[in-house]
């Protein structure tokens, strides 16, 4: 045995021996616990099993109903197919423990509760079963298959929604717009200009369920341009405007930290304003290349439009070049507005 093994064994033994356990008190508490309603059903099932033991072969089924579910069960409907952009197969060997929907000694309802699944469906088909955990809107978060062995359900495969990998973080991450199934409702801007959806992207936990979901909207608001997340989150920001065609600046706060790549803010949103709708193109050039912007408008905006370009946050020392073109401008000769943004920081 190595010295580290020796030290570990001694420390564990000392810690364990130092812990006193009041067995009679715990035994009395257990009796109370077994008598509570939650366990009464278990006792009844066990009693039923004991009775059926006399009659023969239904015992296993009766016991399994309680401890290792034999019947299909559900709490709300969950989609049959994934609608998220990326999925990944869960490591069932125990190499990672972020998500392991193990049904040994647990019911599907307990697994669903552990991972905060708003909905779940457990479907038994002979000696195989399937547990689908879903989000509030019924979209599928994870799909786990089981096979029954010795009266217990053993996981065979599990697939869950993911944010992509560090190589491909998310679905077309620089594309603005809808990335999930549906956006959250628009906020109240308090003006006569209708808000327009800028972006909506869910963030998935290891369980494949959505943990963070922001919908970003924009609308002119007086002498400024207002951004706000849905009415359910109520996070907002306002960029002042002069009334001319102009590049208003960059915004970082909306895009939630991307823990997959270990950076606080992986994206910067460049924003330009065109009060008369004359511009035709908006680009942002950074270290990774040139990124095209998209124009958003609404009939209630009186012909004005906002240009937005999402770019990867460049290193702190690198500048971004943002350019607005009008319909008479020709790249690269004549941008209407040519503005160097320096250095963009999204800490």
């Amino acid at each position: 045995m190595t010295r580290i093994e020796d030290r570990l064994r001694s420390a564990l033994t000392e810690a364990a021996d130092a812990r006193t356990v009041d067995v009679p008190l715990m035994r009395a508490e257990l009796d109370e616990r077994l008598a509570r309603p939650r366990h009464r059903s278990r006792l009844l099932v066990a009693a039923a099993a004991a009775v059926l033991l006399v009659g023969g072969g239904l015992v296993a089924v009766q016991v399994l109903r309680d401890d290792s579910p034999a019947d299909s069960a559900s709490s709300g409907e969950v989609d049959d197919e994934f609608s998220c952009p990326f999925t990944e197969h869960v490591d069932l060997s125990g190499g990672q423990d972020e998500f392991l929907p193990d049904l040994v000694g647990r019911t599907p309802a307990e697994v669903a509760r552990e991972y905060d699944a708003a909905r779940w469906e457990f479907v038994v088909d002979g000696d195989t079963a399937r547990l689908r955990l879903g989000n509030e809107d019924g979209t599928l978060g994870s799909d786990t298959r089981y096979r029954r062995h010795d009266g217990e359900w053993h996981m065979t495969t599990s697939e869950a929604c993911s944010n992509g990998t560090s190589v491909t973080p998310g679905s077309d991450p620089l594309r603005l717009g809808l990335h999930g199934n549906r956006a959250k409702p628009a906020p109240e801007f308090g003006a006569d200009k209708e808000p327009v959806l800028v972006d909506d992207r869910p963030v998935y936990a290891g369980s494949g369920l959505v943990t963070d979901h922001r919908s970003l909207y924009v609308a002119p608001c007086g002498a400024g341009l207002c951004f706000a997340t849905s009415s359910q989150d109520a996070i907002g920001d306002r960029m002042p405007m002069t009334g001319r065609v102009e590049i208003l600046g960059t915004m970082c706060w909306f895009f939630v930290p991307d823990t997959l790549v270990g950076r606080a803010s992986p994206y910067a949103l460049l924003v330009a304003w065109d009060p008369s709708g004359q511009t035709t193109e908006f680009t942002a050039s950074g270290p990774g290349g040139t990124y095209d912007g998209v124009a958003l408008t609404d009939p209630s905006w009186d012909g004005s439009k906002v240009w937005l370009a999402l770019v990867p946050t460049p290193p702190a020392e690198v500048k971004l070049l943002a350019r607005l073109y009008d319909h008479e401008g020709f790249r690269p000769a004549g941008p209407l507005v040519d503005q160097s943004h320096a250095p963009v920081r999204c800490d």
């Binding site: 000392e14 810690a15 812990r19 067995v23 077994l34 366990h39 006792l43 066990a46 401890d67 392991l100």
Partner: protein, 159 residues
């Protein structure tokens, strides 16, 4: 269980509950007594089909699963903190024990499970694996990685 009478259940409870409380504590449970009680509630429900030789393995597995589940829930509630405190209610711990246990508490949960099962319960790798719900080779690699991490943290060179 050989028989499903309350007499047998009581004997099993008295014989195993202290060990299970200590196991849950070493695995980092905030409420090791409650983990042990939960394990026995499950055993009570399943007593008709759990045979005597499988009893200890069954209880170990339920306890490991229960501590793991509660830790996950705590991590979610606390914003996914990675580290779990080791529950040590004993008076006057030695400096050596404190240092070793502090490093055990910093290990990834699976490595911690593997080390506790292997070095406190003295389980062979196949039984460590069974309690963790993984393969024996995974259990072995978790033990090996846990020892290496501990050795580095505690300035050992012989792991």
């Amino acid at each position: 269980m050989a028989a499903d009478s309350d007499v047998d259940f009581d004997a099993i409870y008295v014989g195993h509950v202290a060990r299970l409380v200590r196991l849950a504590a070493l695995l980092g449970a905030e409420d090791p007594e409650d983990v042990a009680q939960e394990a026995f509630c499950r055993l009570y429900a399943a007593r008709a089909r759990v045979r005597e030789p499988e009893l200890m393995a069954y209880l170990n597995r339920i306890a490991v699963n229960e501590v793991r589940s509660r830790a996950r829930r705590r991590r979610v509630a606390a914003g996914k903190h990675h580290l779990l405190p080791i529950a040590d209610a004993s008076p006057g711990p030695t400096g050596e024990r404190t240092a070793v246990l502090a490093e055990v508490a910093r290990l990834p949960h699976r490595q911690r499970e593997a080390l506790v099962l292997r070095y406190w319960l003295d389980l062979p790798y196949d039984q460590v694996a069974e309690a963790m719900g993984v393969t024996a080779s995974t259990a072995k690699s978790q033990v090996s990685r846990g020892l290496k991490t501990l050795a580095v943290a505690l300035d050992e060179e012989d792991a």
